[in-house]
């Protein structure tokens, strides 16, 4: 329970610290702050995301606050990336950005207030075809930025991390090491070894699709879709996950995510690739799916290590690790997950989730 208590203490102290300032600026915090509850604690984040209302006109806003260096740096970096993305004049299509209402960084107390982007419908409530169109639109915006000329590279390197095969390879090896330090079973060893071998022998293929703007975590809780002038506009909410790398990194993340949340969409995206993209792209996509799954399993392994025994969150984290490992095994063999595996996982996961987390999930998707 230590971790959760620490998180609660952290939340309370930050709220006490910023409450009066937020009021002074003319905003009232919502009573129910879903983004600080549930499994948010395992992120060990040093910033808080709050929802509030502007008193003069009842405008709903998002407030990000932090008094910790790590959190302040993250929010400033995020803001810098957002500005950079807006300035990039070499891509045709663009994302929309929530309007910034207030920014203040005084005495190590940072506060950013942006417009809340409401949606008519949560992403997963839409039908699969609509979901596909939105994903395609978002990812085509990212693919529209290809940094191949020196002067563009000079601009983007100021803001975004640049990743090529060597960087991916280094990360993959780190992930493998962390995973195997904790999970020594043959199952882990064999699956990771197979994935590693496939990835390591594909330097040209990975580099072939590098140089694109990619989003490491392009999943529904990081963007919003709002209907404006008869068009679905995509608002990007997370800017810290942007980098210049293999364009299939963003595709890989959403496909892996949809293996769990909407396998019809997973299949539709893969079918789209088969029908519209080259064989080289399909191969690169598979490699990046492998990379992202190594990353995912490594991330939850680190979370698992930090949780105390007997905690249901620890049990849930272990369940997640085995689920994503199963998906990795299937991706390596060009197979889809058995629907029963997905169902069983979802049932067990939900039985281990707290009430607050179940509530938070409803808001996210």
């Amino acid at each position: 329970m230590t971790k959760i208590l620490n998180w609660e203490q952290y939340v309370n102290s930050e709220m006490d610290n910023f409450k009066s300032k937020i009021l002074e600026l003319g905003f009232i915090l919502d009573e129910n702050q879903v983004h600080v509850k549930g499994e948010r604690s395992i992120l060990l984040s040093k910033k808080l995301i709050l929802t509030a209302i502007r008193t003069v006109d009842n405008l709903k806003v998002i407030i990000k606050i932090s008094s910790q260096k790590e959190g302040i740096d993250e929010i400033i970096y995020e803001r810098m990336c957002r500005v950079a993305l807006q300035k990039m004049n070499f891509n045709y299509k663009k994302f929309n950005h929530p309007k910034e209402i207030h920014f203040e960084n005084k005495n190590d107390n940072l506060i950013v207030i942006t417009e809340f982007i409401g949606e008519e419908q949560n992403f997963l409530q839409r039908n699969t075809e609509e979901q596909f169109k939105i994903i395609l639109k978002g990812l085509e915006i990212l693919e529209g930025v290809h940094v191949t000329v020196n002067k563009l590279a000079d601009f983007v390197t100021k803001f975004f991390e640049i990743k090529d095969f060597k960087i991916y390879e280094k990360k993959l090896l780190e992930y493998e090491k962390i995973i195997l330090e904790n999970w020594s079973g043959d199952n882990f060893k064999n699956i990771l070894e197979k994935g590693k071998r496939m990835f390591m022998g594909s330097e040209y293929r990975v580099n072939q699709y590098c140089g694109f703007l990619t989003h490491f975590d392009f999943v529904p809780h990081n963007f919003r879709v709002r209907r404006e002038n008869n068009e679905d506009k995509i608002y990007l909410l997370d800017y810290t996950s942007l980098s210049i790398g293999n364009k299939h990194e963003s595709w890989a993340r959403i496909i892996n995510f949809m293996s769990l949340y909407n396998s019809d969409l997973e299949r539709a995206i893969l079918k789209y690739f088969e029908l519209n993209r080259s064989e080289e792209e399909l191969k690169s996509l598979k490699l990046l799916r492998i990379f992202r799954l190594f990353d995912h399993i490594h991330y939850y392994t680190k979370v698992y290590k930090n949780l105390e025994n007997g905690n249901s969150l620890k049990e849930l984290t272990k369940l997640r690790i085995f689920f994503w490992l199963e998906l990795l095994k299937n991706v390596l063999d060009d197979k889809f997950l058995d629907p029963k595996v997905i169902e069983d996982y979802k049932n067990k996961r939900d039985s281990l989730r707290s009430k607050e987390e179940l509530e938070r999930q409803k808001v996210l998707y």
Binding site: T148, A268, K271, Y272, L275, S278
Partner: protein, 215 residues
């Protein structure tokens, strides 16, 4: 006949111009069948492969001068070895190719699907009176003026170019480019097949039309 395609963009680049270059090379190759009859020269670092098409790429990562020198060196070799030169869009790569083609007295056909002056100034928010836009305009003028034949994707584009650059009507053709870059994963098998056949038919028509223009 041996054909050289010169293109500023090529996949993995995602622009329409890039997709057209690949589909044109692929379809020309499929109709001509013979190996390495088609050569494609592109500014690209890791070009996508096309079966039986010789792809030569010049990296965009080197500085502009080096890039132009290398591109021209390759052109001097390739233009000589090819009978007909196809230019994708009226940019700097087309201008270089055109100059070398003139040197060897080769027939050139330019494909124009975008007015780059408009594209850049509107989409990229560039001042229409800037030096950059003036350069683009001037290159576009030279390419469309000096090409043996210019094929436009649509009538509006042709009229714009004709009026703007005072081009000779006899050298201008309008023929829709059969670019297809989206097959829906939600269509049923029957309509997918129908769509594919339609695209094949369109490309066949386009290539036959091109062959007639060449001859």
């Amino acid at each position: 006949m041996k054909i050289l395609i010169s293109t500023p963009l090529y996949p993995p680049e995602t622009a329409r111009v890039s997709i057209f270059a690949k589909q044109l090379a692929m379809n020309l190759q499929m109709i001509y069948v013979e190996k390495h009859l088609i050569t494609l020269l592109a500014y690209s670092d890791f070009p996508e492969n096309i079966n039986n098409v010789k792809i030569i790429s010049v990296s965009k990562k080197q500085n502009l001068l080096k890039r132009i020198i290398l591109f021209t060196k390759i052109l001097l070799r390739e233009v000589k070895n090819n009978g007909i030169i196809l230019l994708n869009q009226a940019g700097i790569s087309s201008l270089l190719t055109l100059l070398v083609a003139k040197l060897f007295n080769k027939k050139t056909i330019s494909f124009i699907m975008e007015n780059e002056v408009e594209e850049r100034s509107v989409q990229f928010n560039m001042n229409k009176k800037s030096l950059k836009v003036w350069q683009i305009n001037f290159i576009q003028y030279l390419v469309s003026k000096w090409s043996s034949v210019v094929i436009f994707d649509n009538l509006k584009l042709k009229d714009t170019f004709k009026k703007k650059y005072n081009l000779n009507e006899n050298n201008l053709i309008v023929q829709k480019f059969p670019i297809k870059n989206f097959f829906s994963p939600f269509s049923n098998v029957e309509s997918k097949e129908k769509e594919k056949l339609e695209v094949i038919k369109e490309w066949k028509f386009f290539v036959e039309f091109l062959t007639k223009t060449i001859s």
